[in-house]
């Protein structure tokens, strides 16, 4: 039984660690492969792709710690390395701008929107999968369709709606609109998890006189913790990434989120702006990269789960 329950995470783990079926196959037929052949067919192309994928981050980090005079002088200094790293840009960012405030805004909006979406999705997913009320199947399909409606066709009417509700330029404009992106995704993900929980457990509880609410909080939720973590961190990442709503619904500087603030507040005519821009981008990415490092498997399971279900 536990096997079935954790199979999702194990699945995601195997995507990463890859004791996949093909691993046996490569062991079985590896005598066909010679080292030079592998070098040319595997390591070389993989190496090139990896370098292209990661170079922008290296460049971002390097620019953030380079002194100004080295930034724009590509001839006298080796541009790919610096021997005199400086924290000037990062310090300026943290102590002379509103950056900490923007980070706090982003964090608060992301956490609040994510929590709201998870609560709503847990209830909805449980009802669709296990209560199976009349028309549950249709509602499930409609929620999948909602997943396919992108923010960039909604922001214009939403801006008038946000204005009507009196939410314009408040964090609530984002906390209430982000769930429209997150709920369809996390409901869909959690539906997949709830389906793997054996029905018999709930039947036992029903016979023992448990209410639906008790079943949900005492049986279903403890068993779907990996799913909840996946949904949580993936939603959090999506919130952090969101741009167009934040750009449209917020106007005052102190309410902005990191992506919007960087684009609007840092772009001045200063020829030396690159150092602080890159520092801003680096510091804004770090929370997500750290979170990712701890929960790689959950990310992968959220990504592949959403596609597979």
């Amino acid at each position: 039984m536990t096997d079935a329950l954790i199979s999702k995470v194990v699945d995601a783990k195997s995507v990463l660690i890859g004791s996949s079926p093909t691993a046996d196959h490569s062991e079985g037929m590896s005598y066909l492969e010679t080292l030079p052949r592998r070098l040319v067919l595997l390591y070389l192309p993989l190496g090139i792709i990896m370098v292209v994928l990661l170079f922008p981050f290296y460049w971002m980090a390097l620019t953030a710690i380079k002194p100004d005079e080295q930034l724009l002088d590509l001839e006298r200094f080796n541009p790919f390395w610096t021997w005199s790293p400086t924290f000037k840009h990062i310090a300026k960012l943290l102590f002379e701008t509103n950056y900490p405030l923007w980070l706090w805004n982003t964090m608060m909006v992301a956490v609040a929107a994510t929590l709201l979406s998870i609560v709503a999705s847990v209830l909805a997913a449980y009802a669709i999968v296990r209560l199976r009320y009349k028309g549950a199947r249709w509602v499930g399909g409609a929620i999948f369709l909602a997943y396919l409606i992108p923010p960039s066709i909604l922001f214009i009417p939403l801006s008038t709606v946000v204005f009507q509700y009196g939410l314009f330029d408040t964090p609530f404009a984002l906390i209430l609109t982000y769930p429209t992106i997150l709920i369809p995704f996390s409901t869909w993900l959690l539906m997949g998890y709830f389906k793997t929980i054996p029905f018999e457990l709930e039947e036992c509880a029903l016979i023992d006189g448990a209410s639906r609410w008790q079943i949900l909080t005492k049986i279903v939720l403890p068993l779907s913790v990996p799913g909840l973590i996946s949904a949580f961190i993936f939603c959090f990442t999506l919130c952090w990434n969101e741009f167009i709503y934040a750009l449209t619904f917020l106007s005052s500087t102190q309410n902005k989120t990191v992506p919007v603030a960087i684009v609007n507040e840092f772009v001045d005519g200063d020829i030396y702006r690159w150092g602080s821009l890159m520092a801003g981008a680096l510091v804004g990415s770090l929370p997500l990269v750290i979170l990712y490092a701890f929960f790689v498997e959950h990310y992968v399971s959220a990504m592949t789960g959403a596609v597979k279900e």
Binding site: I17, T22, D24, H25, L46, F80
Partner: protein
């Protein structure tokens, strides 16, 4: 003992009449209603209603701060004759098709490479996903710096190698700008395609490859006649998502070019933002957004057929 339990339960039910409140607590449909309420309320208020409102706005001449009057198809007629709008449709189609083809090709290739046995496999796979984790706007800013007209490290390197003599104006020239934003989009999209296809690749039974090897199949034949057909359903879903989000992209363009130079990189989404929010013509912007809907519907239908086919392959009954 079980009989005893059944007995007492039956007795209880006979004595006590269920009140209406208890009926509501047990009734599936009512419970379902209460459980669905938060999600449905948010989706109706902030998704379905704005979606309808958007279509309605596109038939009005609403401006910011003034609700408009119904003007039927006037917005669309005006857009039909508008060269900037036509350019944006062309750009969007070019951007979506070229970027999707490259994302698919490179993503599939990367997935096949990652599926091989090698040292540090888990770490390499985790690193591949980083471009997908970092917020688009922040990585787009890194690309903005990489594409700088004077201090681009790409131009510098190519000059040092001797391939070019003057700096490339990545974002200032019409076609250069188009290729540059497409490159940045592909860069961001490849990890998602690669990792999801990798998950699909791992479901292919190894015995098929063994049988094919015994039959003397080449590597390409194994890929063409085993891997590719078994992956088709997941490819359909992944590419639908990819096409959908590329088609409605906004962030990347807004950071890199804001639609310039001379509207060469304006997508429909960026144009609608410019017209509606910056220019104040809500009705016209809404018409541009609404014009995107037919394309999205086409993508969704493709996805639906992809899913159907997958169910059929797995031998599941339609549920």
């Amino acid at each position: 003992m079980s009989e005893l339990a059944l007995d007492s339960k039956g007795a209880k039910r006979a004595i006590r009449e269920a009140t209406a409140w208890e009926g509501l607590k047990v009734d599936r449909d009512w419970l379902g209603f209460w459980f669905m309420l938060p999600a449905v309320a948010i989706l109706v208020l902030f998704l379905a209603y704005p979606l309808g409102l958007g279509v309605w706005l596109s038939f009005t001449d609403a401006r910011i701060g003034r609700s408009g009057v119904f003007i039927a198809l006037e917005n669309y007629e005006w857009l039909w004759g508008d060269n900037v709008f036509r350019t944006s449709v062309f750009n969007t189609l070019l951007y979506t098709s070229v970027a999707s083809v490259f994302k698919f090709a490179i993503g599939l290739y990367l997935a096949v490479l990652l599926n091989e046995h090698m040292p540090f496999k888990a770490m390499i796979r985790a690193l591949v996903l980083i471009p997908f984790i970092v917020p688009t706007v922040l990585s787009a800013i890194a690309f903005w710096w990489l594409f700088d007209s004077q201090f681009s490290i790409i131009s510098w390197s190519l000059r040092k190698i001797g391939l070019i003599s003057t700096n490339i104006d990545f974002l200032g020239d019409v076609w250069n700008a188009r290729w540059s934003v497409i490159f940045a989009n592909v860069w961001r999209g490849v990890p998602f395609v690669a990792i999801t296809l990798l998950a699909g690749l791992q479901t292919v039974p190894p015995s098929l490859y063994e049988a094919a090897t015994i039959d003397g199949a080449s590597r390409w034949q194994m890929f063409r006649f085993i891997t590719y057909p078994l992956l088709t359903p997941i490819i359909a879903v992944v590419m639908t998502f990819s096409v959908l989000f590329t088609f409605t992209d906004f962030q990347l363009i807004w950071v890199l070019t804001r639609g310039g130079p001379v509207n060469a990189t304006h997508l429909m989404a960026t144009l609608s933002y410019q017209r509606a929010i910056m220019g104040g013509n809500l009705g016209e912007g809404a018409a541009i957004s609404t014009a995107m809907i037919p394309f999205l519907l086409a993508a969704i239908l493709i996805s639906w057929f992809g899913l159907q086919r997958r169910k059929w392959q797995h031998g599941e009954a339609n549920d």
